[in-house]
């Protein structure tokens, strides 16, 4: 018998649905007298979105509200176009959730658990059985699917949690700290799996994390929470672009150009013949200022390059600003 490895399946078509997967407007939540969220306003679009924030910033509480487990004290929350409290069962049937903790029934086999959760979400038993196998194969646990979960490593348990979250083919998957407890190799594998959920399986993903680098590598967008409110949200390209700047490389006249730019209100960092220019109300405004400064100073340009801030710079900037 000749084993033939199948070629990767083509990406699945994106199912129709509202462009905003999660939409929050002025959402507030308190536990007793402790305010967790005071004003959450953001939109989560299609693809993979990172939910960023320091430990204790209320990421898990927000996930609970998205699942309809806690009602917001104020504001409006819509998930897949539905109210999580009013349409809880209907909504949760279309959501997959992988909790942060690693505790799962140790004596239950991975396949039995995934099948059970798929059936809970409305799949007939026969379909749940088949899809449990498919989901476990998809996360790389095909050969291990009949092992009791208690005998599995942390990395394998994280994969089981992901498998049970996607087995019933949800529209949205909520992953709470999915790389917690993983070594670097396992972490890379998990991030790749999360990415595949969106690109190959057409499932939107909201992944909570406090690892900026993971979000930067995996996500299309981010929602950054600090001090009970959203300090930044949107596609990563926009978030990075918000801390905009331009690197200007010249052969000569760097000092003259720098002086001209400072006179126009820009901030200039000099590194020999390279200048990092920031300022202006927008990237377009900065480009105008730079054009005028170059024209007035007559300095010849060798290279112009937009400069993107890392997510860490964005996070530190907004989190610092929030506090």
């Amino acid at each position: 018998m000749t084993p033939v490895h199948p070629s990767p399946a083509p990406p699945l078509p994106v199912p129709p649905g509202p462009p905003a997967v999660v939409e929050a407007t002025g959402v507030a939540k308190a536990w007793g007298t402790t305010a967790v969220h005071t004003d959450l306003t953001f939109t989560v679009g299609r693809g993979v979105t990172g939910l960023l924030g320091p430990t204790g910033s209320g990421k898990t509480t927000l996930i609970g509200m998205i699942l309809g487990l806690h009602a917001p004290d104020a504001g409006r929350l819509r998930v897949l176009g539905l109210d999580p409290i009013g349409a809880g069962p209907e909504l949760r049937a279309r959501i997959g959730y992988a909790p942060e903790h690693h505790r799962l029934p140790p004596d239950v086999r991975a396949h039995d658990l995934v099948k059970h959760i798929a059936a809970l979400h409305g799949l007939p038993l026969r379909e749940a059985t088949t899809r449990a196998s498919d989901a476990l194969w998809a996360v790389g646990l095909g050969e291990e699917r009949h092992r009791p979960i208690g005998t599995m490593s942390t990395g394998q348990r994280q994969r089981v949690k992901l498998a049970q979250a996607i087995a019933h083919d949800p529209r949205l998957v909520l992953l709470d700290e999915p790389t917690d407890g993983l070594d670097p190799v396992q972490r890379d594998d998990m991030l790749e799996l999360i990415r595949r959920c969106s690109t190959d399986y057409a499932i939107d993903v909201l992944v909570s994390s406090h690892h900026l680098e993971e979000v930067e590598r995996t996500c299309d967008g981010a929602v950054i929470i600090a001090e009970g409110r959203v300090v930044a949200s949107g596609p990563l390209t926009e978030l990075r672009g918000a801390a905009h700047g331009v690197v200007v490389e010249v052969d000569e006249g760097a000092d003259a150009l720098a002086a001209e730019l400072v006179r126009r209100g820009c901030t200039v960092g000099a590194d020999g013949r390279r200048l990092l220019v920031q300022g202006g109300a927008s990237p377009e405004h900065l480009a105008d200022l730079l054009r005028d400064a170059l024209a007035d100073s007559g300095v010849p340009v060798r290279r112009l390059q937009p400069r993107s801030a890392s997510l860490e710079e964005v996070f530190l900037g907004v989190a610092g600003g929030a506090s």
Partner: protein
């Protein structure tokens, strides 16, 4: 194996992850899924041999006397002698008390406490089930399992006696006996199930819950017995948790417990006390399940 693989034809095909466009069932399917899974878990199905011992032992304790009595009835032709030897349907519960107590102390802790310790409750509540439906599913599972020892053995007696010709006479009597068996069995299951769920909802440790259930039953029994013996009113039996559901069964069959002052208690008080304890423990379970923090 039939045939042999043809060279070049064999393939290992991975179907891969696909979209699911098939049927999605409603909430009743989700509830039934939890009931079925819970029953399997408690009975040790798909679990190790050690986890089958307690439920198998309890079931054996409940059914072996019934099988023996059916055998006795089959061997002895004299109906008068058979009536003298065999217990009445209400008296049969005296033989299955131990099995009921074992299941009471074992079933709900296995279901509720384990869900909390393993974080399964978070997965359940992130499914279409809400907290009330989750509790309903667990209560259904507890009731079903307890009915295995409260209804099953007595039902076995009835069916066997009917086939042997020593049971109730005529379809009406059989139906009447069946109704009483179901009512009595479900009454015991309801009180013990609610007690078991209520206590189990207070902790995530199975052993603590099991011990608390046994202690609660024993202490309430000993305390009420002592107070009544010391001259207290028989109405105190409304607080006698181990005896109360069996007293209800005796009333359903129109019999007396015998030798107990509980026979002096009015039937309405027995019914009311059973109902109050059942609802009280169920309310305790509901309050605790609603207070659960599940996304951690």
């Amino acid at each position: 194996m039939n045939g042999s693989p043809t060279d070049g034809d064999a393939r290992i095909l991975e179907r891969g992850y696909r979209r699911y466009e098939g049927e999605r069932r409603g909430l009743s399917h989700s509830i039934w899924t939890v009931v079925l899974h819970s029953v399997q878990r408690v009975l040790g199905i798909k679990r190790t041999i050690w986890q089958k011992i307690v439920p198998a032992g309890a079931v054996a304790m409940a059914y072996i006397p019934a099988i023996v009595f059916v055998g006795v009835a089959a061997l002895i032709d004299d109906v008068g002698v058979v009536d003298d030897i065999l217990p009445t349907y209400a008296e049969y519960y005296g033989f299955v008390t131990a099995a009921i107590l074992v299941f009471s102390a074992f079933v709900a802790p296995e279901l509720l406490c384990t869900d909390r310790r393993t974080g399964m409750v978070g997965l359940y509540l992130s499914s279409p089930l809400d907290r009330d439906r989750y509790l309903l599913a667990k209560a259904g599972a507890v009731g079903l399992i307890l009915s295995l020892v409260t209804v099953g053995p007595v039902l076995l007696l009835l069916v066997s006696f009917v086939f042997e010709g020593s049971g109730p006479d005529g379809p009406l009597d059989v139906l009447s006996a069946l109704g009483r068996i179901l009512l009595g069995g479900l009454g015991i299951s309801a009180l013990h199930g609610a007690l078991s769920l209520g206590v189990s909802s207070c902790t995530d440790r199975k052993a603590v819950a099991s011990a608390a259930i046994v202690v609660l039953l024993l202490v309430s029994g000993v305390l009420v017995d002592s107070l009544v013996e010391a001259g207290g009113p028989p109405e105190l039996y409304a607080f006698h948790l181990p005896l109360l559901p069996f007293a209800l069964v005796y009333r359903i069959w129109g019999e007396q417990v015998g030798g107990e002052q509980i026979d002096q208690v009015a039937t309405w008080l027995i019914v009311l006390a059973n109902l109050a304890w059942t609802l009280g423990f169920a309310a305790l379970a509901r309050v605790n399940v609603h207070r659960l923090q599940v996304t951690r």
